[in-house]
Structure formats: structure tokens, C-alpha cells
Symmetry: C2
Subunit: 113 residues, 2 copies
């Protein structure tokens, strides 16, 4: 059970940011900096179909959205635990679905306000 004073609830102030987070599509250099995973490695994971970038659009360089950045971080963690790449990707599947649902919901919700 969590109890929060309404006036002091910081989440409300921040809800709107999920819309911004949803729009944050960033290049591979930034993703490498943010996640600590080498660019070359990210490209390899993408070749294997585990990560997906948005190349089709206006840009001809790779762009990653929030959920793919998140995925890169999660996979990195599982690799450090000893999983293979494929196993890590499989293990993450369920969790990514949940994240996707919660995230999309929050982002849309915050957009309306």
C-alpha cells in the first residue's frame, strides 16, 4: 500500500512527459551513449531481428524509439547474467509486451491533457 499526499504527488506533474518520451526517437550514437552498448553491437542485434529501428521514414540513418532503447538495456542485463542472445530476446518478449501496453496507455493519456 502506498499513500501519497495529493499536493505532493510528483507523478501528476510529470505525466505529460510520457507523450514527449513517446516522441523521443534518437540516433544510434545517442543510444550507444545512453545504454553503454557499442554501436556495432546494436547494429548486429538489429541484423538478427531483435532490435528494430525506424529507417523507412524521413531519415536514412537508424532511429530508435523508447521501447527499443529499453529493450537494448534489458537484453544487455540478461547477457551479463549469462543468457544467449536468442534466449534473452525470448525471455524479454513478455515483459516488452507489458511495457508496450503500459507505455502506450500512459503516453496517450498524457496527450489528452
Amino acid at each position: 500500500m502506498v499513500t501519497i499526499m495529493e499536493e505532493q504527488n510528483p507523478y501528476e506533474n510529470i505525466l505529460q512527459d510520457f507523450d514527449l518520451l513517446k516522441r523521443l526517437i534518437v540516433g544510434i550514437g545517442e543510444v550507444a551513449d545512453i545504454t553503454g552498448v557499442a554501436q556495432r553491437k546494436i547494429r548486429y542485434w538489429e541484423e538478427k531481428g531483435i532490435i528494430h529501428s525506424l529507417k523507412g521514414g524521413e531519415s536514412s540513418t537508424r532511429r530508435y524509439d523508447y521501447l527499443n532503447i529499453k529493450k537494448i538495456i534489458l537484453i544487455q542485463e540478461l547477457l551479463e547474467e549469462g543468457f544467449t542472445l536468442d534466449a534473452a530476446a525470448r525471455k524479454i518478449g513478455e515483459r516488452m509486451k507489458k511495457l508496450h501496453t503500459v507505455f502506450t496507455q500512459l503516453a496517450d493519456q498524457s496527450k489528452e491533457e
Copy 2:
């Protein structure tokens, strides 16, 4: 007073993301896409000292953090309302300070978990 069942509180699931949000430092192209403000315009605002990028570090290109992206969006909104650039920057000062406090607090908090 607000009381939330722990299992149903979506904010808790997402709290950790503020640490990620804090690390999201992105290039000018992405910022232009995200905010809808032209690159050239962002550079001008930076020349005037209203926006700040992180150039001193490892990168020699402009990188913007979350709060500066936020600032760009807010200023854009005020300009559309008819404020001058300087007036918009002044008006936003107080709000940015609050955002900075809440944001830093949340990000640090989420990092500890």
C-alpha cells in the same frame, strides 16, 4: 489524500524510466523532429543564451538533455501566444526551476531502486 493499491499503480512501474529519461541526451536533428522547431532556430536561441547544449564533453556536436528539450517546447508555445523571445525566456524561468527540482528528484529516486 490519495490511496493507491500497489499492484495497480502504473506510476511505480514507470518510475525507473526517469533515470533513463535523465540520460537521454540527443542531437539537434532529433530535437528538431521531436519539438517541431527548426534546427537553425534552435541554434539561434542557443546563441542568445536561452537554450544550452552539452558540447564540452566527448562530443563535438550539440547534445540536448531532457530539460532543454522541454524548454524549447515551452518557448515555442509562448512565441505562438505572442511573447517575444526574451519575454518567453523570462516567463519560463520559474517553471523551469520547478521542473528541474522535481525531475532531478525523481530521476535520482528511481536510480536507487
